[in-house]
C-alpha cells in the first residue's frame, strides 16, 4: 500500500482503466467548458467595461445561438451516456465462473468467508486475474464496500443480499473503506484487500485454522434446528414441508398464485419469516427463526441447502 501523496488512485482491477478513461474524458470536457465560460466572462467584463471605448451592439436574443447551445451539450451528454452505459452493463453482469466470497458487515467490521471455509476479519485475500463475486449482507445498518483501487463500491444492506464483483490485476495491498456512514466508528470500519497470485491464494486458502466447510457447518445447523422433522432428510419426500433437494434456483409456486425463483434472498426470508411467501399447498405452520441465526450461520445454512444439489424432484414430492 503506497501511502505517499497522490492525486490519482492506483489502478488494480480490470474495471479501473475503463473507469479512468471516461473520467479523463469528462475532465477534458469540464476543463474546456470552464475555461471557455470563465475566459468569455472575463474577456467581456474587460472589453465592455464602462470606461472602455468600444462599440456596444448588444443582442437581445438569437435563435441560432440558442439552438447551438442546446444541441451541442445534448450531443456531448448523449455520448457520455452511451459510453457510461456500455461500461455499466459490463460492471453489472457478474461473470458465471466468478469465485464467490461471502461478506458480512457489522458495526464496525468486515467479515469474509471463503469457499473452503476459511474466514477472516477486516482483511480480504483474493487471487489476481480471476473474477471475484461478493455476496454481502449487513447485520445491522447500511454499510458500503469500497475499494478505490478497484473502482468498486456496493452498499451492503441489512435483510437483503447485495452483490458485486471485481477482477484484481495487480498483486499488492489496497485500502478497503466503508463508504456509507454507519455510526460512531464509521471511519474506522476499514481494512485491506490483499491481492495474491492465484497459486499463492490457493495455498493461503488451504492454510490457517480449519473451521468446518460452510455446508458441513450448515448441515450441523440443519440437524440442530431440527429442520428435517418437516422437510425430511433431503432424500425422501417430506411429510409437512416442501422438499429441499434441488431447491436452490428452482421455480416455486406460491400460495398467492405467483411463482418465485428460490434464490438466496427467498431462502433467507423463508427461514426468518416463513409466512411471507408461502409455498403453494402448505399450511403456514413453520416457526420463525428470526433472532436465532446470525448472518454467518445463515450463510452456512444456505450453503448446505445449495449443496443438496439439483436432484430430480420425485413426482408429487411437493404435494402434501
Amino acid at each position: 500500500m503506497d501511502t505517499g501523496f497522490r492525486i490519482h488512485p492506483e489502478q488494480a482491477s480490470t474495471a479501473a482503466p475503463q473507469v479512468d478513461a471516461l473520467y479523463f474524458f469528462l475532465l477534458g470536457v469540464s476543463i474546456f467548458f470552464t475555461v471557455l465560460i470563465a475566459g468569455l466572462i472575463v474577456y467581456f467584463a474587460i472589453r465592455f467595461r464602462q470606461s472602455a471605448k468600444t462599440t456596444r451592439r448588444p443582442m437581445e436574443g438569437n435563435m441560432a445561438l440558442e439552438i447551438t447551445w442546446i444541441v451541442v451539450p445534448l450531443v456531448i451528454v448523449t455520448m457520455i451516456f452511451f459510453w457510461s452505459m456500455s461500461m455499466y452493463y459490463d460492471m453489472s453482469r457478474i461473470p458465471e465462473d466468478a469465485l464467490e466470497i461471502h461478506v458480512v458487515a457489522k458495526q464496525w467490521m468486515w467479515k469474509f468467508q471463503h469457499p473452503l471455509g476459511r474466514r477472516e476479519i477486516d482483511t480480504l485475500h483474493v487471487p489476481a486475474g480471476r473474477a471475484v463475486k461478493l455476496t454481502m449482507i449487513s447485520q445491522d445498518v447500511i454499510h458500503s464496500f469500497f475499494v478505490p483501487a478497484f473502482r468498486v463500491k456496493q452498499d451492503v444492506l441489512p435483510g437483503r443480499y447485495s452483490r458485486t464483483w471485481f477482477e484484481a490485476t495487480e498483486p499488492g495491498e489496497y485500502h478497503l473503506f466503508c463508504a456509507e456512514y454507519c455510526g460512531t466508528s464509521h471511519s474506522q470500519m476499514i481494512g485491506r484487500v490483499v491481492v495474491m497470485p492465484q497459486a499463492e491464494y490457493q495455498t493461503w486458502l488451504a492454510g490457517g485454522p480449519k473451521p468446518d466447510e460452510p455446508q458441513a457447518a450448515g448441515e450441523a445447523l440443519f440437524a440442530r434446528l431440527r429442520c428435517g422433522g418437516c422437510h425430511g432428510d433431503g432424500r425422501e419426500a417430506p411429510k409437512r414441508g416442501p422438499l429441499l433437494a434441488g431447491v436452490f434456483e428452482r421455480r416455486v409456486p406460491l400460495q398467492s398464485g405467483t411463482t418465485v425463483t428460490a434464490d438466496e434472498d427467498y431462502l433467507r426470508q423463508s427461514i426468518l419469516r416463513p409466512d411471507a411467501r408461502l409455498v403453494a399447498g402448505f399450511e403456514p405452520m413453520m416457526p420463525s427463526y428470526q433472532g436465532q441465526l446470525g448472518e454467518e450461520e445463515m450463510n452456512d445454512l444456505i450453503a448446505y441447502l445449495k449443496s443438496l444439489g439439483h436432484a430430480a424432484v420425485p413426482a408429487g414430492a411437493n404435494q402434501p
Partner: protein
C-alpha cells in the same frame, strides 16, 4: 458699549429632518417587528434569523475542518465529529440555504418587483417566519445540547433504530420548518398569479420572479414528502412500527426513495432562486437585457419539473436495479441542458454591455464560474459507471458545495449587496465589499477544489480519521476554509456598519430598471404611493439610455 449685545454663540439647531415615512421607521418597538405583516419587515426578520443559523452551522464546519488537518483524532472524538458534520448539514441546508434567497430576498422583492403592496397572505407570511424560527431554534438547541449523529440524510435503519442520539426531536424541528417552506411557496404562487400590477404580463416579469415561482412549485409539491418520511422515522423509532428496519419487516431503501424524492428537488430549491438573482445581477450590471429571456425563464420551469425525476442518481450503489440506473442516469443528463442554457445566456448577456465592476457583478461572475464547474462535475456523478467509484467520496462533497456555496451563497451575497441600499437606504463601503468578494472566491476554491481530487483518489466522506496519503489535500482544504471564514465575517461587519454610517443611497443608486427601484429607499410600507403601470419588458436599458 454697543447697543446690540453680542449674543453668545449658540449653535443653530440643525434643521429637523422629517424622514419620509418608510417601512423601517413605521415603528420601533419589538412588538412592531414581531407582529408585523409587512413583507419587507418579515424579509428582514428572515435575514437576521438565517444569518444566525449560518454562523452556527459555519462554526461547526470550522471545528471539523480544524480536526481534519491531521489524519488522526486529536481535537474531538468520533462521536463529536459526527455530531458536528450533522449539525453543519442540517443547519446549513434546512435553516440557511433553503430559506436564504426565497425567504429574505423573495419576501422583500417579489411584491415590489410585480408592483404589489404585499404578498397575498401577509399573516400566513408571518406564521411562516415563526415556524422557521421555532423549528430552527429548537433544532439548534437540540443539536448543541444533545446532538444528533445521523448526517443530514437520516439514512435508515441507522437513524430509526441504531443511533443513540436525539433523532426524534431533530426530525420534529425539521418537520415544523417544512411547513414554513410550504406556506411561503403557496404565498408566492398565489401572489405572482393574482397580484401583478396592471401591464405586468408573465413575460414582463423579472427573471427573479420566474425562478421564485419555479422554486415555490417545488416547495409545495416536494416538502410534504420529506415531512412524511420524517414522520415515518418517528413512527418507527417511537412506536416500533416496521417501515424501514428489515428486522421489523421494513425496507431501508424505501427511506432513501422518499428522502431523495424531496432532497434532490431541494437542491433546486436552493439553486433556482440563485439563478434568478444571477439573471438580475448580470442584466443590471452590464446594462443589457438578459439574452434569451424566454429560454432562461422556461429553463427554470424545466429544471423544476425534471428535478423531480432524477432522485435515483443518489442510489446507483444502494442496490437499485440496473434498469433504474439507466433511466435515472438518462434523466439526470437531461437536466444538464436547461442549466447549460442558462450559463450560456448569462455569458452572452455580458456581450456588448456597459459593464460596471461593482461588488454585485464580482459575485455574479464568481457565480457563473463556480456554478459551471459544479454543474460539469455533476456529469461525472450522473454516469453510474463512474459514480460507483465516486459515490460517497469527497468528490460528491466538493460537487455539491460548488453548487450550493459557489452557486447559491455567491448569488445570495451578490443579491444582498445589490439590494442592500434598497433595504436600508444606505451604501456599504465599496472597496471593502470588493475585497471581501475576491477573498470569498479565493477561499472557496482553495477549500473545495482539493476535495475533488481527494474524492477521486478515494477518500470517503464523513471520515473522522483518514489514511495518511490524504493529508496534504486536507490541509489545503482547511487552509482555504480559514480564508473563507474570514471572508464571510467581513460583509457581516461592514454591512452592519453601513446601517448607521453608510452614505444615503437614494431611491436608485445603480440607476437600474425594475419596479423596486422606482420607489424610495427604504420603501414606504405600502411600497408604491400609486400602483405602477407597466408598459415594457424588464431590463429595458437600451430604451432608457436613449431617452436620457
Amino acid at each position: 458699549m454697543s447697543i446690540v449685545e453680542e449674543l453668545p454663540a449658540v449653535p443653530s439647531p440643525a434643521p429637523v429632518e422629517v424622514p419620509e415615512p418608510n417601512y423601517l421607521n413605521a415603528g420601533y418597538t419589538l412588538r412592531s417587528w414581531l407582529l408585523t405583516t409587512d413583507h419587507k419587515r418579515i424579509g428582514i426578520l428572515y435575514l437576521i434569523s438565517i444569518t444566525f443559523f449560518f454562523f452556527v452551522g459555519g462554526a461547526a464546519a470550522t471545528l471539523f475542518r480544524l480536526e481534519l488537518m491531521t489524519p488522526g483524532a486529536d481535537l474531538v472524538e468520533s462521536e463529536t465529529y459526527n455530531k458536528l458534520f450533522t449539525m453543519h448539514g442540517v443547519l446549513m441546508i434546512f435553516f440557511f440555504l433553503i430559506p436564504s434567497i426565497p425567504a429574505v430576498l423573495g419576501n422583500f422583492l417579489i411584491p415590489m418587483m410585480i408592483g404589489a403592496r404585499d404578498l397575498a397572505f401577509p399573516k400566513l407570511n408571518l406564521i411562516s417566519w415563526y415556524l422557521l424560527v421555532i423549528g430552527g431554534l429548537f433544532t439548534t438547541w437540540v443539536m448543541l445540547v444533545g446532538g444528533v449523529d445521523t448526517g443530514w440524510t437520516f439514512y435508515t435503519p441507522y437513524s430509526s433504530t441504531y443511533s443513540n442520539t436525539y433523532v426524534m426531536v431533530t426530525a420534529i424541528g425539521i418537520f415544523i420548518t417544512g411547513f414554513s417552506s410550504i406556506l411561503t411557496g403557496l404565498n408566492f404562487i398565489v401572489t405572482i398569479h393574482t397580484m401583478r400590477a396592471p401591464g405586468m404580463t408573465w413575460f414582463r416579469l423579472p427573471l427573479f420572479v420566474w425562478s421564485s415561482y419555479a422554486t415555490s412549485l417545488i416547495n409545495v409539491l416536494g416538502t410534504p414528502v420529506l415531512a412524511a418520511a420524517l414522520l415515518l422515522i418517528a413512527l418507527e423509532r417511537g412506536l416500533g412500527i416496521g417501515i424501514f428496519d428489515p428486522a421489523l419487516g421494513g425496507d431501508p431503501i424505501l427511506f432513501q426513495h422518499l428522502f431523495w424524492f424531496y432532497s434532490h428537488p431541494a437542491v433546486y430549491i436552493m439553486v433556482l432562486p440563485a439563478m434568478g438573482v444571477e439573471s438580475e445581477l448580470v442584466a443590471h450590471f452590464t446594462r443589457n437585457r438578459v439574452f434569451g429571456y424566454k429560454f432562461v425563464a422556461m429553463a427554470s420551469l424545466a429544471i423544476a419539473l425534471l428535478g423531480f425525476l432524477v432522485w435515483g442518481h443518489h442510489m446507483f450503489v444502494s442496490g437499485q436495479s440496473y434498469f433504474a440506473g439507466v433511466v435515472f442516469s438518462a434523466l439526470s443528463y437531461m437536466i444538464a441542458i436547461p442549466s447549460a442554457i442558462k450559463v450560456f445566456n448569462w455569458t452572452t448577456t455580458m456581450y456588448g454591455g456597459t459593464i460596471r465592476w461593482d461588488t454585485p457583478l464580482l459575485y455574479a461572475m464568481g457565480f457563473i464560474g463556480l456554478f459551471t464547474l459544479g454543474g460539469l462535475t455533476g456529469l461525472f456523478l450522473a454516469a453510474p459507471s463512474l459514480d460507483i467509484h465516486m459515490h460517497d467520496t469527497y468528490f460528491v462533497v466538493a460537487h455539491f458545495h460548488y453548487i450550493m456555496v459557489g452557486g447559491t451563497v455567491m448569488a445570495y451575497l451578490g443579491g444582498i449587496h445589490f439590494w442592500w441600499p434598497k433595504m436600508f437606504g444606505r451604501m456599504y463601503p465599496e472597496s471593502w465589499a470588493r475585497f471581501s468578494a475576491i477573498l470569498i472566491f479565493v477561499g472557496f476554491n482553495l477549500t473545495f477544489f482539493p476535495q475533488f481530487i481527494l474524492g477521486y483518489t478515494g477518500m470517503p466522506r464523513r471520515y473522522h480519521i483518514y489514511a495518511e496519503e490524504f493529508q496534504v489535500l486536507n490541509v489545503m482544504s482547511s487552509a482555504g476554509a480559514s480564508i473563507l471564514g474570514v471572508g464571510y465575517l467581513f460583509p457581516m461587519c461592514y454591512l452592519f456598519w453601513s446601517l448607521k454610517y453608510g452614505k444615503p443611497a437614494g431611491p436608485n443608486p445603480w440607476n437600474a430598471t425594475g419596479l423596486e427601484w422606482q420607489t424610495p429607499s427604504p420603501p414606504p410600507t405600502e411600497n408604491f404611493p400609486i400602483t405602477p403601470i407597466v408598459d415594457e419588458a424588464p431590463y429595458a436599458y437600451h430604451h432608457k439610455e436613449l431617452t436620457h
